[in-house]
């Protein structure tokens, strides 16, 4: 073999790259997550359907509620549900970290819904911290008209 000083490292890099999934996990298989299911009752649709299609259902819900003002969903077997993430799904699945998050962590998805929607575990609300940028431009952390306007920003009147 010619140029074995270059070819052999090349072959080793190639094999390492192809077998990355094998050595990355050190041959240890990871158990599938076990989301905590509500003790009784049923879901909106069948369990199998929910497991694979819930994100598509949520998308339909979101569009129906916000774009068509349709807030009632009739499932494939005729049962009716309120269309709502916080007051629908999360009323039955009232622990996001033990339900939604367990699967999502395993599958490495981070739904951005919780940027705006509030998971049931969140009980207390803290006033947002003023960012450095706001301070730099002298913007008061709470603007006029909000519920806390009394304690800030009065002096400017």
């Amino acid at each position: 073999m010619y140029n074995s000083d270059k070819v052999i490292p090349g072959i080793i890099i190639f094999v390492l790259f192809v077998t990355l999934p094998i050595w990355w996990n050190h041959g240890k298989s990871v158990a599938a997550p076990e989301p905590e299911l509500p003790k009784k009752g049923r879901c909106v649709e069948s369990k199998e359907y929910m497991r694979s299609h819930h994100m598509q259902l949520l998308n339909v819900w979101r569009n129906e509620a916000i774009r068509q003002g349709m807030r009632i969903y009739t499932s494939s077997d005729g049962a009716r549900f309120w269309i709502s993430l916080q007051n629908g799904c999360m009323k039955c699945h009232n622990n996001k970290s033990k339900f939604c998050d367990r699967c999502h962590q395993f599958a490495a998805v981070e739904p951005y819904c919780w940027n705006c929607h509030i998971p049931p575990e969140t009980k207390k609300f803290k006033a947002p911290k003023a960012s450095g940028l706001l301070k730099l431009f002298g913007v008061p952390p709470v603007l006029h008209g909000s519920s806390q306007a009394e304690s800030y920003g009065h002096a400017e009147h």
Partner: protein, 338 residues
């Protein structure tokens, strides 16, 4: 017809899987045995090809160049077009592999009336770059199915790729790009008469196979959907050599898995080996330093040929040279002074 043969082969594969998994329930065969056999074929096949290439002697230094080679100090040397050392070779090779630099110079030739016209043609370059980069990014993104915990860079890649947040699950940009690239590459062979004429079934088959792979993947993500948690559990089992019989996963996943197994097993025996072949091309992996470094022909190893000086050669063929009226170099017969 070549196209039809390739198309029938790919559609036949879907039917085989649909029958084998959907009807006969051969989960272990299609889920475990076929993928493992395919991966082994891929690894052993490609290593064999690489060793085989590395064993082939390169008798001459045949670097392709299209620029000024390194010579006298005041002549500007084109480092990329005529690499003079290994570093410049690596630089040129990297640009070739990552940016398809030589394809960028692709020209088209057209007959208009009785005149032949040449013109710039970047479409092939664009289609190829869309296709190859999307394929690579999709492949890397798939590591989220093979690893736990999933490495941060892969999550970042995923987030960037689904940046536009279209639909749920989000549409990936690379999915659109690879479809666009593949469509162009297939249409090029079908529509352009010059390319059509030189296309074999072995040109269409990889294209249709990859189109099948991509469409089954997109069907699985955006339309039919499978339970991804079960899929990941199963795939992780495969990757860690604890294969479990997959349960509750739709047939579309097995179609996808069969397509990738077929692609991978076909790889070492087809035009697709250009992925590793490019690194073994003597026209691209040698520096153009013929004038400075003597390239020893490997054929001579162990059996050095007997060389003749000009004078020895002239002596050998003197009679014939004289008969043919060729001039004889008299210097050869002068006494050496020094």
């Amino acid at each position: 017809m070549n196209v039809v043969a390739a198309l029938v082969a790919v559609i036949g594969m879907v039917i085989v899987v649909w029958f084998g998994v959907g009807v006969l329930k051969l989960y272990t065969l299609f889920g475990v045995l076929v993928p493992y056999a395919a991966l082994l074929t891929f690894l052993i096949g490609l290593i064999y090809r690489m060793v085989n290439w590395a064993k082939s002697p390169v008798p001459f230094k045949i670097t392709t160049t299209c620029g000024q080679q390194k010579s006298l100090p005041w002549i500007k040397h084109s480092r990329l077009e005529s690499p003079a050392n290994n570093f410049e070779v690596v630089l040129r090779m990297a640009l070739e592999v990552l940016a398809f630099r030589s394809l960028f110079r692709n020209l088209r030739a057209d007959l208009r009336g009785r005149k032949l016209y040449y013109g710039s043609s970047k479409w092939l370059w664009l289609g190829a770059i869309l296709f190859h980069w999307s394929f690579f990014i999709i492949l890397v993104r798939h590591l989220r199915l093979f690893t736990y915990p999933v490495p941060g860079p892969i999550k970042v890649l995923d987030a960037v790729d689904s940046f536009f947040h279209i639909g749920l699950p989000h549409l990936y940009m690379t999915d659109v790009a690879i479809l666009a690239g593949l469509t162009f590459l297939i249409l090029r062979r079908l529509v352009d008469a010059k390319v059509n004429y030189i296309s074999h079934a072995s040109d269409y088959f990889p294209l249709f196979l990859i189109l099948g792979l991509v469409s089954s993947g997109m069907l699985m993500r955006y339309f039919l959907r499978v339970d991804l948690v079960s899929v990941k559990e199963f795939v992780m089992g495969l990757a860690t050599f604890h294969p479990k019989a997959p349960k509750g996963i739709g047939v579309i996943f097995f179609v996808h898995l069969f397509f990738i197994s077929a692609l991978v097993a076909y790889f070492p025996f087809s035009k697709l080996v250009h992925m590793v072949g490019v690194f073994f091309s003597p026209t691209r992996n040698l520096p153009n330093d013929n004038r400075r470094v003597r390239h020893i022909n490997p054929w001579w190893e162990g059996v050095p040929p007997k060389f003749l000086t000009y004078c020895e050669w002239q002596e050998k063929f003197k009679e014939q040279l004289e008969q043919a009226g060729q001039p004889i170099d008299e210097d050869c017969y002068k006494e050496k002074k020094s």
